[in-house]
């Protein structure tokens, strides 16, 4: 057992912190207010290698471990989760899926530009009537011999408009249920793709979330990842890792709100003394610190298991569930500590609270995580 970070992990955390605290902080409120996509920041993320940091260097990635990834996501999320979600989806859903299950030719053609950040990736699973229930895919990928004909609509797609490469989950053999689902690599510029309007979200407003419609889109057979019918397993395996990224994001949101709360409570006076001298506030800070530490440790354990090539689905579900709930609680209390100032944009905590809400919903709701956890608990005990 060792709780020490390596020198390299600390260096990566510092690099992410410097990027977030020097660059992202400057325009985060404006981008959130006007839902402006962080084009320039994403370019810097690519230059620094954060967009493909988990990918093997032979595919132009950074070759870093999942612990480093968790630390980087946390630091960026302390300031701006619209940016960290772009990084998380690209790394842990799109690049991870291609690297682990794609063919050499697919990796060469699609993974490398994504790992370099020349292109952004999107993961298209949710549908208007299939979110948590991923087996009910209505999007179809009809087998036409040498190509698939893709039809249907995908919802809530992070980087839906900016992505150059889509990984699309679609049903090929409806009679086989979830065993008939495939995953296809689709070029964003393929004829027949229509991107819906930008979703006007509560939080993470500067990431571009869209619905994407496919109308008779021809996808070459060689763009299918894995065997025929591998799509559902692909989605589940990939989401297992994705949860670690979102858990780390939730830790960062909570930690960002916590750090701001401690600072504020030390400076702000009420009834003749600083807020920290009021037990009602000091105890809130103590509870925040414990929840964040717990969430971070769960997250790091899941990351560690993944790095050790051990099963991590249970651990990542626990991390994602706990961290998201902790983030919601911590940010709500952070607004409370800030009082009226917490309710205005200038102090950041109201935005962090809005961002926290999404971590309970996307990449598997808290309820879905409890299904994963409880099934394992019932099986094991």
């Amino acid at each position: 057992m060792n709780f020490e970070y390596t020198e390299e992990q600390l260096m990566i955390r510092q690099a992410a912190r410097d990027f977030a605290q020097r660059e992202l902080i400057k325009d985060v409120i404006e981008r959130d207010t006007h839902a402006i996509y962080p084009t320039e920041h994403v370019k810097v993320l690519a230059e620094l290698g954060f967009l493909g940091m988990l990918v093997d260097p032979k595919y132009d990635g950074g070759g870093m471990d999942t612990i480093s990834y968790v630390l980087a996501i946390e630091e960026i999320s302390k300031v701006d989760s619209s940016v960290s979600v772009i990084m998380s989806v690209n790394n842990s859903l799109v690049c991870y899926g291609l690297e682990n299950f794609g063919s050499e030719a697919q990796k060469e053609k699609y993974l490398k530009p994504l790992a370099r950040g020349d292109k952004i990736g999107a993961f298209l699973l949710s549908e208007p009537e299939a979110g948590s229930d991923a087996t009910s895919q209505r999007t179809t990928a009809e087998d036409k011999g040498d190509y698939y004909l893709l039809n249907g609509t995908k919802n809530w797609i992070t980087s839906g408009n900016t992505a150059g490469t889509y990984l699309v989950i679609a049903q090929t053999h409806p009679e086989k249920g979830h065993k008939g689902i495939n995953v296809l690599i689709v070029d964003r510029n393929s004829p027949g793709i229509t991107v819906g309007p930008h979703e006007d979200k509560m939080g993470m407003r500067s990431s571009d979330t869209h619905s994407v419609m496919f109308s008779d889109v021809k996808v070459p057979k060689e763009n299918r990842i894995g065997e025929d019918g591998f799509g559902f397993i692909f989605a589940m395996k990939t989401l297992e890792g994705g949860r670690i990224g979102i858990a780390a994001q939730a830790v960062g949101i909570a930690a960002g709100a916590f750090e701001r709360s401690v600072k504020y409570a030390k400076e702000r006076k009420a009834f003749g003394t600083e807020l920290v001298n009021h037990q009602s506030v000091a105890f809130k800070l103590a509870e925040m610190a414990v929840k964040i530490e717990n969430a971070r440790n769960l997250c790091l354990k899941a990351a560690w298991l993944k790095d050790q090539n051990k099963p991590y689905g249970y651990a990542s579900a626990m991390a994602k569930y706990y961290a998201a709930e902790a983030a919601m609680w911590v940010t709500t209390e952070a607004v409370q500590i800030h009082g009226g100032y917490g309710y205005v944009k200038e102090y950041h905590v109201e935005r962090l609270m809005r961002e926290a809400k999404l971590t309970q919903i996307y990449e598997g709701t808290s309820e879905i995580q409890k299904i994963v956890i409880s099934r394992q608990v019932i099986n094991d005990y």
Partner: protein
Amino acid sequence: MNIIVCISNVPDTTTRIKFTADNKSIDYTGVQWIINPWDELALTRAIELKEAGKVDKIIVISVGNATIEATLRKALAAGADEAIRVEAEASDSFSTASHLAEAIKQQTADIILCGIESSDYNGSSVGGMLAEMLDLPSVSSVSSLEIEAGGIKITREIEGGRQQLETALPAVLVVQKGIAINPRIPSMRGIMTARTKPLKVIVASPVNAESQVNSYENPPRKSSCKMIDPENLDELVDLLHNEARVI
């Protein structure tokens, strides 16, 4: 052309400085260490010049025990090619400059960059001492450095304006804010390649410190805000004039 950048390992600028019980040294327990911000800007400029094809090699050098190697590796990750650690206690500016001079004499360098001061002790003296010990020309308060075909062009910030200079090489340049805008953040690729870049350790000859610290003390606490009745303008004017002395 080769550039040496002298690096000081300093506590993170947000560190709350505490002293040991006798007030004769600083308690470094739990301190996060960083590259001295001015040295980081010097390094950034060296990296920019290398990326522009004007510099062949960047060597970073620092004095201290093995704990400073993390800081040197960060400099390698940011883009330096080699690092040298001089194994010695950096007890004052004179001993630091002496150790640096000894190590730099063993290198081939055209430009030696030092930050204007370290953010911990603010001595502002190592660069000048180093130039003297190396018997090299030195330029202080450098805010811009360009390498051109015939040599280097330097800009210094001076009272009310700027001074443009050229100097023979090798030279020691003591740089300040403006030499680079944003310090370079190490990329994943940089961090990965830093694993295999050389970090040499040189054992220094003993040097006696020329100064010793008698004691440290914290600055006085800022006095609290004075509230004045909005009707009482005379008191406000009096305080601004006689106490704050701003009008």
